[in-house]
Symmetry: D2
Subunit: 334 residues, 4 copies
């Protein structure tokens, strides 16, 4: 951390500030440049609030030298983390596709889709039992009954299940029944949920918030790892921008950036990222080419009758063809 001092600050005030910081156990280096005076801080910098420092009369600005995350960062953990459930693995060179409907709607639906995606090579089944919807009048999922249907589909197909948790009220059910607990974009900074889910020590799929920076995403992963789980999958799912031709703007640069800064596996969600089924295949392939460790894709057997997000779901047939191309692109970039 570097504190840039205002040009008109008195020597006395600067000395006072230096002593204050040193009293917090930090090392301060006084830097006198040609036209700038700065204080460089070393030691347990995370304990100092750059915000409060900025508030001081003699401080012009505070520059951060290092990233604020540790457990999620690659600096002290250079080796790739591999998230594994049974045979399925994501990260460290392993690639997996998670597929399934936006929401579980019934036994036939989820079983039929699960069988189809398994045949095409998906390694995880996704399905929403609890759905976050911007409208209180929309379909909010089958709840615990939805989890039961997912379990039945897991039993018949062997696919581990991924489902989104919305509330700490359902921690026990998710701990028991779900293989990978999803934290959705709207809850990426629901810190009480992060703390509790971290304690379960189960794999977590953490989606980037609609307006969250990559640094904030990694800080939310830091909450989970600090809580107790190192099995965190990061997911780019589109950010909110001015462009309205797509539902969100899928930020594929996030994939190589996150893999550079963090040891955690990174996947992409081209379904929510675009909001249009015709765009899912090209963006899925693009994410693979950018180096993603996996994908999460909405597949529905009758998208035009889906109770949610039908517009962005692809059919099992389209998914089957896409999987073939995904494998070819993976080969191509090796």
């Amino acid at each position: 951390m570097i504190i840039v001092i205002k040009p008109d600050a008195s020597e006395q005030a600067i000395e006072q500030l230096k002593r204050n910081i040193e009293n917090q156990g930090l090392i301060v280096q006084d830097i006198k440049g040609g036209n700038a005076r700065m204080l460089g801080l070393a030691g347990e910098v995370a304990s100092v609030s750059p915000d409060s420092l900025s508030r001081m009369d003699i401080v012009e600005s505070v520059l951060m030298v290092r990233e604020p995350y540790k457990l999620a960062g690659r600096r002290f953990h250079p080796r790739d983390t591999i998230v594994a459930v049974g045979q399925a693995q994501i990260g460290g060179g392993h690639f997996s596709v998670i597929a399934g409907p936006c929401s579980v709607e019934g036994e036939d639906q989820i079983l039929s889709i699960a069988r189809d995606i398994a045949k095409s090579g998906a390694e995880f089944l996704r399905g929403g039992a609890f759905k976050p919807r911007s409208s209180p009048y929309a379909f909010h999922g089958l709840g615990l009954d939805g989890l039961e249907l997912l379990k039945a589909a897991r039993q018949k197909t062997g696919l581990p299940i991924v489902s989104e948790i919305l509330s700490t009220d359902h921690l026990d059910a998710f701990a028991q029944d779900v293989d990978v607990i999803q934290i959705g974009a709207r809850n990426m900074q629901n810190f009480s949920l992060l703390v509790e889910v971290g304690k379960l020590k189960k794999p977590v799929l953490l989606k980037r918030g609609l307006s969250s920076s990559l640094e904030e995403l990694l800080m939310s992963a830091e909450y989970l790892i600090k809580g107790g789980t190192e099995q965190v999958i990061l997911c780019e799912r589109g950010i909110r921008t001015f462009e309205t031709a797509t539902r969100n703007t899928l930020d594929l640069s996030a994939i190589p950036v996150l893999k550079q800064k963090s040891h955690l596996p990174v996947i992409a969600d081209p379904s929510h990222g675009t909001g249009h089924w015709q765009l899912v295949a090209p963006l899925a392939l693009a994410a693979v080419a950018a180096g993603a460790d996996g994908l999460i894709i909405e597949v529905h057997n009758m998208p035009q009758k889906a109770l949610c997000d039908g517009q962005q779901s692809i059919t099992p047939e389209v998914f089957h063809n896409l999987m073939k191309k995904i494998n070819r692109v993976r080969e191509a970039i090796k």
Copy 2:
């Protein structure tokens, strides 16, 4: 809702779609323009998913004619809602300022600030007991002890208290102790929290999410009102944009837009909206001039020692002078 049909759609397919929609109890009007074919839908349109309609082969796009909220909207509720706690009122011509520290740090701190702001004319005391922080290593508030300190300050000053709830675990404590329950920007779409807080039938201060549209803000208010409380205050607190000179971009147009579309009172938060204490006063005055029903402002007796958000807190002295100008601007725009 208007469904724009693709130019190459067959008459048979269009007829099929019309029948399907009519079977859901809606009225369909067939519109044949010069170069466009459309279906106009009337009736309980909220039950139809525009998303799934868009997914159909013959559908080019779906246009929304009316807003999706009802309880929060002005269309069926033209009269301004007034949120009242004791003598303090917000909305319907009543204006109130909520002030206090980012977080409650100790008895002396909160009492001293509460007395100062009361003297200057604030009508509510704000103070964070549970703090959402992007870093797990930052100060997260005093928790339930913080609520106790707020209660003590309320008893001594008579100011009703506003505090943020982060988790359904604390519903009972907030129901009992807090006068206005704040739902923060990061929880604006934490729908499980909205549902539970709505049931408490207490006044709620709902902050706009960092990347939430005004329509989404009103849909979150819809959750609260549907749950049982009509005492909802909307709060513009800045959105996330590309500009980095300020912490967020305070969107003051939101004030007249929300007041046009909704009967709920609208306030602004110039502290979080700007992130710099020097910008608080000009933006507070601007919000008042734009027609805000109130303000929420961070005031700290020693901002340079604040445990959080010191950079954006003003001192009691600055607050005192600001309150005088606020009153003058209110007079000026009458």
Copy 3:
């Protein structure tokens, strides 16, 4: 400028870099903190490309300590610049309103509007002769004929005229006929235009680009001042964000930020900033309360027949009432 060195950089490579920088005439200070190694640069830092430095193997990042503008900044020019045309003045405590139609449509129109706004207290007449339109099929203004009509209106009312230049082809006409040359949002980074307009040494109204940071706006002002004119008015006119309820998001924080960083006068455009005539008055008043040195407002005698931007134009009657409130708010914040 501070260069943060990668932890694994060799001492030899660091020494090489230091010598290279010193060879460019700069002073380098070697900073060794607890867990960070940095080089502090002093001297004519503007000549060094932070971009190319970042590209070096041993460089982790480059932090900027000072702002990149000089002529437009307050650091070396603390006194407010006042832009003056005849009696009308903007900046340094002087406040003026610029008003008129989006585009000049005919003699009766411009004269009628000019007389009305003069009566209400506007001090400049705006009117577009050349209109930038996103569609090649839209009305693009009357061109040089439009300038003639503006001149006639100036002669009859005494109001100096403000009009937008779109091309260096019209430099002579604007130099001769227009009092304040407007550079529109879409041309804020049309650097060839900036260079040529700067040479005219006439007052310039420089609008912020739709996605331009405040620093970039000041850099464009730097072009103009370096070219030869110090009479530059900065104009906040809304930025592009995800919100669609308004045409743009008027960033009123820009006003106090710009006035802090620069000596140039700052005005706001609530017409383009909101895109809806009902929002013009509240946002105009808000801009004044935030400390604006002036406003630019679209006024049209028959907005529903306007050839462009009718939706955001107010009538002379609404303008008249607004001007009264503007004066009252100016008094209130003194």
Copy 4:
């Protein structure tokens, strides 16, 4: 175009509006839904200003049914346009890579790079002679001398040249010397430049503006085609968002969206799109996987000494390896 009428509009006023629109030669259809009254417009709708309609007392909103571009759109021009210079072709199944330095710096530099990229399979040489820079103190290119050096490189390598035009002052030089005229992001809505460049009837590379919607990009292409050239290449080069980890956010969804809506070829610029050389390869491959018809990539023989954009330039070696992978990904997605 659909006009939604306010619920309280009088029948008389609606009739008046209908007659007014019919008098402009359009067909009006009166649509009476359950809770909405609308007017559907057919005919030469482009001549009507939705803006001015919205301004009317009885109008609630105006909905657009069809896209506003014609010449650039696929609706009336279903076949892919192929842009061709000599042997090199882009679009309609043809793929080309444009490579070269940000700016031409000298004869040895440009020749060396041109030879290297030609060997690796690039089909066009890019190089900036006139550089738009946010700072007036930065390097602005060699100007006409730069064009001469590009011509020399073309002669020696056979590669057609792509260079950016900044001003109508250089139309003659570009018409004579440059094979593909680039219009940069900051000039995408410099309409006077678009009009003049269109008249040259030469291939144009049109970059998306930093905050331009895809519709606006297509409208700017419409200007060029209307002016006289159908040889327009669209280029996605990143948009401005809140994320600061990358210089811009490369919006790869733009590729399939543009190709769906338009017959023009679409390429991507991973250099400006990311701003970091390590991100160029993954994003280049991603763009190819998303269906791009080509790429434009910054290559510099000594990036750490480049006079501009060194941070985002890759070396000829990295480029060589990237080209191999690009070809493999192209095969993979066939």
